[in-house]
Symmetry: C2
Subunit: 77 residues, 2 copies
């Protein structure tokens, strides 16, 4: 089964949304990527269409930007 | 089981997000409210903290604003 990918950057808005997404979708169905700790994944996230975090990329490639924690420019730093 | 509530207003961004949310969470676990067709629910949505649509209110009361379709001011019209 294809998983969703939840990209975040450790901000309070991100952590809150992460808990909600895991509760709603289920831990086994979503991969969590912390872009602040794993900057090598930023390029992949931007190519997927992620413009801000937190964001959820669905198995079919749609990007759901959830609330607003930080822009990708802020994540790149 | 307590359901999530997905508020939308029929805009293209809303419909796309609705499909994604149903795919991710499951149709039986989310109630869909179209605020454009059911304006009597706007007050309830705003009290829940919905500032724009589409938005998902989780069973524990958190509001996840997903992408951006329209502000509540635009929905009220």
């Amino acid at each position: 089964m294809s998983k969703s990918i939840f990209y975040h950057a450790g901000c309070p808005v991100c952590i809150s949304a992460e808990h909600d997404v895991i509760d709603l979708i289920g831990h086994s169905k979503v991969q969590i990527i912390h872009l602040g700790n794993d900057k090598s994944r930023i390029d992949e996230a931007m190519k997927a269409g992620v413009k801000s975090v937190p964001a959820l990329v669905t198995p079919n490639g749609n990007v759901l930007h959830i609330n607003f924690g930080a822009s990708m420019e802020e994540v790149i730093g």
